[in-house]
């Protein structure tokens, strides 16, 4: 009898259950879309923030990093040559960076080697780098990486240099202006001691807005040949996806040995920038890994802000959809006072009536929720595609959240209406008051 009545109610008065299903569907689609986007926005924005370039620099242990600054002062020709011995990393070892615990989070990396050359009688810095290198890892994976992907802010006229061509270089705008070079021109290089190194062709002129604009960028092999350091690199820039730092990460960055075993485990297995740096140092014992705070810190700040913003907006839309659903359920139940009055008049208990109506509402809410979930996934993909150009991963966690939300909201939303049904007097309603 009960189910027969439910079935009757659902089929006979098509409009009203449909309305509830529709309202719940709208609310659920909003909640689903927002929750899915919120859970994924961190990863997506993190990916976008990679345009700021490397957040880790791998340099040989010792003083190589310190030599960097003399490179700068040498450019300005104001210091006496530093007498410190230069140190290098092996190019062959760099692959190990992609084999650490958090290898998957290493987005790109590129090694560099600076050397001095003479061009047109002027001493300039030539930086050798990987531009677009295809690597086969011992693990069987393949990786495409290099500088092209890491210097997204470079404005390049012509093209990036190619790793395999040893006669093509890129020239910074300032240097190109000084030497009157255009894309396609050739010029002669000489070693600092005057040895002739032959002609190279300018395949691209870049504008970076930094000190690189006064340099020549060449394939790593060419720079190694000129420097007389085959198979060596000076530093590696690494761009890694990391989680914003917290108290634990800050303590670990100071001294990883100060952590308890449990904390150490947590730290090591969380993708903090300090733990990634630590793992690279483990893989390359002769290297020291420095965190580029300008990138790493700002990244954390912006990620946190974005996530918090999305969280609040999501909460807001959840509250709104909850209010909207409960509002509609209330309106819907109120409207049925005549029917309830009749049921009461023919002897139904209030409990039975409420059970009947609630089942009916929950059934239509369920149908609406399923439809709304699918629609919400669609909205989330729409946002992911248009904004980030990639799909938003549908998190399974969203389903229970939405289910609980719908159940609670429908029940709570019906409360005022239920109260009304309790107080309802059949005679009055049926009389048409």
């Amino acid at each position: 009898m009960f189910w027969k009545m439910i079935f009757g109610a659902l089929t006979r008065q098509r409009g009203k259950p449909l309305m509830i299903a529709f309202a719940v569907g709208l609310g659920v689609s909003l909640a689903t879309a927002m929750l899915n986007v919120m859970f994924d926005v961190g990863d997506k924005v993190n990916q976008e923030l990679k345009t700021y370039g490397a957040n880790l620099i791998v340099a040989p242990r010792g003083l190589a990093a310190f030599n960097d600054l003399y490179d700068l002062t040498e450019d300005e020709g104001r210091t006496e040559q530093s007498a410190r011995p230069e140190q290098f990393l092996n190019e062959a070892d760099i692959l190990k960076i992609k084999m650490i615990f958090w290898a998957h989070n290493i987005v790109d990396f590129a090694p560099y080697l600076d050397t001095r050359v003479l061009a047109g009688g002027e001493a300039i810095t030539m930086t050798g780098a990987w531009f677009d290198r295809h690597l086969d890892l011992p693990s069987g994976e393949t990786v495409d990486t290099g500088m092209n992907r890491m210097k997204s802010w470079w404005e390049v006229q012509g093209s990036f240099a190619r790793d395999e061509s040893l006669r093509e270089v890129m020239v910074g705008t300032e240097l190109a202006k000084r030497m009157r070079l255009a894309v396609g021109d050739s010029f002669t290089l000489a070693a600092p001691d005057g040895r002739d190194l032959g002609q190279v062709r300018v395949c691209g002129i870049f504008h970076s807005g930094g000190e690189e604009d006064g340099r020549v960028f060449a394939p790593l092999a060419l720079a190694q040949e000129i420097a007389g350091q085959p198979g060596k690199v000076q530093r590696v820039e690494v761009s890694a996806l990391t989680t914003p730092e917290n108290e634990l990460a800050r303590r670990a960055a100071q001294n990883p040995n100060s952590l308890s075993a449990m904390e150490w485990e947590t730290w090591y297995c969380t993708c903090y920038i300090s733990s990634v740096a630590y793992q690279i140092e483990e893989a390359l014992p002769e290297a020291r890994v420095k965190t580029v705070l300008q990138v790493a810190q700002s990244e954390g700040a912006i990620l946190q802000k974005t996530q918090l913003l999305m969280l609040l907006l999501t909460l807001l839309s959840l509250i709104c959809s909850a209010l909207a659903i409960s509002n509609l359920v209330t309106a819907n139940v109120m409207e049925r006072s005549a029917e309830v009055g009749l049921l009461k008049a023919v002897g139904a208990h209030t409990g039975a009536v409420i059970l009947l109506i609630m089942t009916e509402i929950l059934l239509s809410a369920f149908v609406g929720a399923v439809g709304g979930y699918c629609m919400g996934l669609g909205f989330a993909q729409l946002i992911g595609r248009t904004v980030f150009g990639s799909f938003v991963t549908a998190k399974a966690l969203v389903i229970p959240i939405v289910a609980v939300l719908v159940l609670l909201v429908t029940l709570i939303g019906s409360l005022p209406a239920m109260r009304m049904l309790f107080l309802l007097r059949p005679t009055e309603v049926l009389h048409g008051k």
């Binding site: 802010w153 580029v292 705070l293 300008q294 810190q297 709104c320 409207e335 904004v387």
Partner: protein, 384 residues
């Protein structure tokens, strides 16, 4: 004039009906009002936030440091007086900070180092990512040592060291500095010593110049380009350059964030408006009986439609106003919570919100009323 009296009578009747309907059916009207107010809250809240996001986020992105530098157009040093003159060209409310840097070669124990003269208060604004262990310099001749330099020279906060060097005119200078803290950035700053510019001027006996001046402006790339052009035009000795790494990347990421918030706002708004419309429809639909009765009593379709629309208008205006106020509070709450700054309130959004609410409500009423009017009164009154 009989027609006019009739019209006035009609009008008073309409008002009375309206008032009665609103007062007597309190609970139902409350439901509708809440629905509309929620819609208006979301509308105003989301629009205010998405309107304010670019400004707020752009300020957050300043944590990446300087996005414009002044260098000398002639390739020499920059006169601080010129930089001051150029600063006046920049909009004060967009300027986060302006920091001079002057490089000087010094020696300690015959080992060469680079000392950088700067303004510590300004550095903390333009480069908020500097990590200092120990203290920022306060007293005279106090310096920050870069982490690598400190490691190499085995320096700790509190240590004093004697330095010497040659100024640009070739005369030798000597001095004593005290390390108040060690700065770490992971960049080339780690190899430098930082001292206050006045200290450096006293040391070398040369004042009023810097090698580069870094500026942090919360402005879009196009505006920065324009400002850079204006600076070079007014102060020809200066060349303003954009730090492409920061400006380009910011433009890219900020563009995405803006799009994200706009899209989310759009979807939320559409869904909320549909919700408001559905609530109104339910509320009106339930009154088919009443419409039937009115028709039976001889009311014209137009009169009924007018009454319902007027009711919708009143509800829409009231709900819109209520929601508008809640929406402002709501936008403020989010802005303070996320960015720790107040939202720039746009009071002219309130009338727009009220108008949109009224429009949506009236449109939502219109459809069910029209459907109800097509029904034969006799059928409705008999109870279907």
């Amino acid at each position: 004039m009989p027609p006019k009296t009739l019209k006035t009578k009609n009008k008073t009747f309409l008002f009375r009906m309206l008032a009665m309907s609103l007062v007597r059916r309190r609970s139902r009207m409350a439901v509708a009002l809440v629905g509309i107010a929620i819609g208006a809250t979301v509308l105003l809240g989301m629009v205010s936030i998405s309107y304010d996001i670019p400004r707020q986020m752009s300020l957050e992105f300043r944590s990446y440091g300087a996005n414009m530098v002044f260098v000398s157009a002639a390739g020499a040093q920059v006169a601080l007086a010129d930089a001051e003159q150029a600063r006046k060209l920049l909009p004060a409310e967009q300027l986060v900070g302006m920091t001079p840097f002057r490089y000087l070669n010094i020696r300690h124990n015959r080992v060469p180092y680079t000392a950088v003269g700067t303004d510590f208060a300004a550095v903390q604004k333009t480069s908020p990512y500097w990590q200092v262990s120990g203290e920022w310099p306060k007293g005279p001749n106090e310096v920050l040592a870069g982490a690598d330099a400190a490691e190499y020279a085995r320096l700790k906060p509190g240590m004093e060291l004697a330095i010497d060097g040659v100024n640009s005119k070739g005369s030798r200078f000597r001095g004593k500095i005290r390390v108040s803290g060690v700065v770490k950035t992971g960049g080339k700053e780690d190899g430098f010593f930082f001292m206050a510019l006045p200290d450096m001027e006293k040391l070398t006996g040369e004042s009023g110049v810097a090698d580069v001046i870094e500026l942090s402006l919360s402005a879009a790339e196009a505006d920065l380009k324009q400002l850079a052009g204006a600076v070079h035009e007014t102060v020809p000795s200066l060349e303003a350059r954009l730090v492409r790494r920061v400006t380009q990347s910011e433009a890219a990421v900020l563009g995405k964030l803006k799009m994200l918030v706009t899209l989310v706002t759009g979807i939320v708004l559409v869904l909320t408006m549909i919700c408001v419309a559905t609530t109104m429809m339910t509320v009106v639909m339930e009154r088919r009986y009443e419409i039937g009765l009115k028709k039976a009593l001889g009311a014209g379709s137009r009169a009924i439609a007018r009454e319902f629309l007027a009711e919708g208008l009143v509800l829409g205006l009231a709900g819109g106003l209520l929601g508008g106020v809640c929406g402002l509070l709501f936008a403020q709450l989010i802005s303070v919570e996320v960015f720790a700054r107040t939202v720039s309130l746009r009071l002219n959004f309130i009338p727009v919100t009220v108008l949109v609410s009224a429009l949506v409500t009236m449109t939502a009423c219109f459809w069910p009323v029209r459907r109800a009017m097509r029904v034969d009164p006799a059928v409705v009154l008999r109870g279907e």
